[in-house]
């Protein structure tokens, strides 16, 4: 008998990923996203100025783009380019960390409901229905408005706490579908415990849909955070996020166009690349089953 050469990527997630980067637009999206992440990570090295420094609040405020300040300055004489660069760091950080909270809660809740089944599942799902009935933005506005001067850590926590309901449903549905799969019965026949079956056999089969949901979730949180910051209840000053940079120039949008254009562009670019990536991950995942 002849042995076939081992394909480079055998694991399902590996196969999904390989299929994603086969195509051009997700490859481009991945490249752009990598660049934005690098900008965020290396912000202190790249940014020409301190993003919070106010060198001359009278003579250097509201300057249009120039060689010294490519993205202009804001009403407090701060360099907008530096703030946009640091904004990348903060917006991505909030997006990723809030999504970590979301995924943890969503997977745990959904997996337990789906695997337990019966009355436990029914009760947990009704609780979820109740949560889903509350509009996320409204809830966040209420919490954040009632709680002035919230730290960024708390902001991340609230963004995460309000975002896991949808994922929970996906995970619960998948666990429900998989728990009667023959390989689960086979694992039981080999003496695997319930805990082991859930953690070792069911959850690893859900990695692909979770990755898809998380990718789209990061984009969603970034937009949400920008919206809250624009309303003045998100990232507190003098911290820089794309949302509060736009807010700083919102009094005179037409005159200080550079203050909304550049952070806005960055945000659109980030969210678009994340969505393209998420969608093609989903396509690749759907095709691989």
């Amino acid at each position: 008998m002849r042995i076939n050469p081992l394909p480079a990527r055998g694991s399902p997630l590996g196969r999904t990923f390989a299929r994603v980067i086969e195509r051009r637009s997700p490859r481009l999206a991945l490249a752009i996203l990598t660049a934005i992440v690098l900008i965020g990570l290396l912000a202190p090295l790249i940014a020409p100025y301190d993003p919070a420094a106010q060198p001359d609040i009278v003579r250097m405020k509201d300057l249009p783009p120039s060689a010294a300040h490519p993205f202009g300055t804001d009403p407090y004489s701060r360099d907008v380019l530096s703030r946009v660069i640091y904004g990348a760091r903060l917006s991505l950080l909030i997006g990723v960390l809030a999504t970590v909270v979301t995924v943890t809660l969503g997977v745990a809740f959904g997996a337990i409901a789906g695997y337990a089944g019966g009355i436990v599942d029914a009760v947990m799902m009704r609780i979820l229905d109740a949560f889903l009935a509350i509009p996320r933005l409204l809830l966040l506005v209420a919490i954040l408005a009632a709680w002035p001067r919230l730290s960024i850590g708390a902001l991340i926590l609230f963004l995460g706490l309000t975002g896991w309901f949808g994922l929970s449903r996906i995970v619960r549905g998948q666990v429900l579908a998989l728990k009667h799969a023959e390989f689960v019965t086979a694992a039981r026949a080999l003496g695997a415990s319930r805990r082991r079956i859930l953690l070792r056999h069911l959850l690893p089969n859900l990695v692909s849909p979770i990755v898809v949901a998380a990718t789209l979730g990061v984009a969603h949180v970034i937009v949400l955070e920008a919206g809250l910051s624009f309303l003045g209840i998100g990232v507190p000053q003098p911290g820089a996020s794309w949302g509060n940079i736009i807010r700083d120039g919102s009094d005179q949008v037409a005159a200080l166009w550079w203050m909304s254009l550049f952070p806005g562009l960055m945000m659109v670019l980030t969210v678009m690349t994340l969505n393209v990536l998420g969608e093609s991950l989903r396509d690749a995942y759907d095709r691989s089953w």
Partner: protein
Amino acid sequence: MTAAGEAMTAGAGSPIPLVSVRDLRTWFHMGGVVARSVDGVSFDIGAGETVGIVGESGCGKSVTALSILRLIQPPGRIEAGSRIEFEGRDLVTLGDEEIRHIRGNRISMIFQEPMSALNPVFTVGDQVAEVARIHGGVSRREAWNRAVEALALTGIPAAGDRAKQYPHQLSGGMRQRVLIAMALMMKPALVIADEPTTALDVTIQAQILDLLVDLQKKFGTSILMITHDLGVIAETTSRVIVMYAGQVVEEAAVDELFSKPHHPYTEGLMFAMPHIGRELERLNVIPGTVPAPTDWPQGCRFRDRCPYSWELCEREHPPLYQVGVAHVSRCHLAIEPERRNHPHPPLVVLQGAAVA
């Protein structure tokens, strides 16, 4: 009546059987309706013996297999009074933790569909090694080495490389070898093989059966071979249990069963098998289908499809009659054997004709 007791079996095995199933009843309770899929089954399996259970779809043979390992999920339930004795313990009343130590360790199972019985996201080596991790309490590395050894034992060439592959990268025969490696990893006392070759090509089927018989000789394992294929039965087993409508209808040594089938259902199964040298325009079929497990008929459950049935069969549910040495049959022909010479069209055929 010369009937053997309900709980009695042909019992040709060793004096103290390895497994002793007594009056096993596995019922499914579905909103007021009860499906009595397994309805009072008793049999023994001796140490090192291969016993076959044969029957058509829906006769309860797979549910019997799953019941032994207590893998029945709600709404299914093993009813009180059923007993499955194994190594001095009753598996029916064993605690969850204790039955877990028996599964995969003392009794293991080989499934019909090797592709769906393997987890698609782990390498096959990982999955074989997991058995040793669960029951052996060995290190990751040690478990992996034992997995590769077990894979090699089942005749997988270059087992070390194959172990790193995922199920979808292996052929059907290879996957079934992986499942066999998993089942035999802990050298269990009993392996339950549920249609182990049904999903495979005919040529591969023979290889897999040879492998099973080989490994059985090596380890002295008992095998419970569940199949609808009399060919598999003839090739591997020493004793056969024929199931119909949730019950044992005949049990005998394999030679005896093939040379002198007693129950009309067994007879029908034999006629339905193709034979070399016998010219037939078409294969015989048993007319009709198995009745629904929610509604077993009164009297003999095979009555409608039987060419010999008479008034007694409607009135009285037949017990297991002793019809030979270690040979029992659930058919009233045991007391009126001359009726075998006067077959008639079965009731289902007559009714079908009346409707048409």
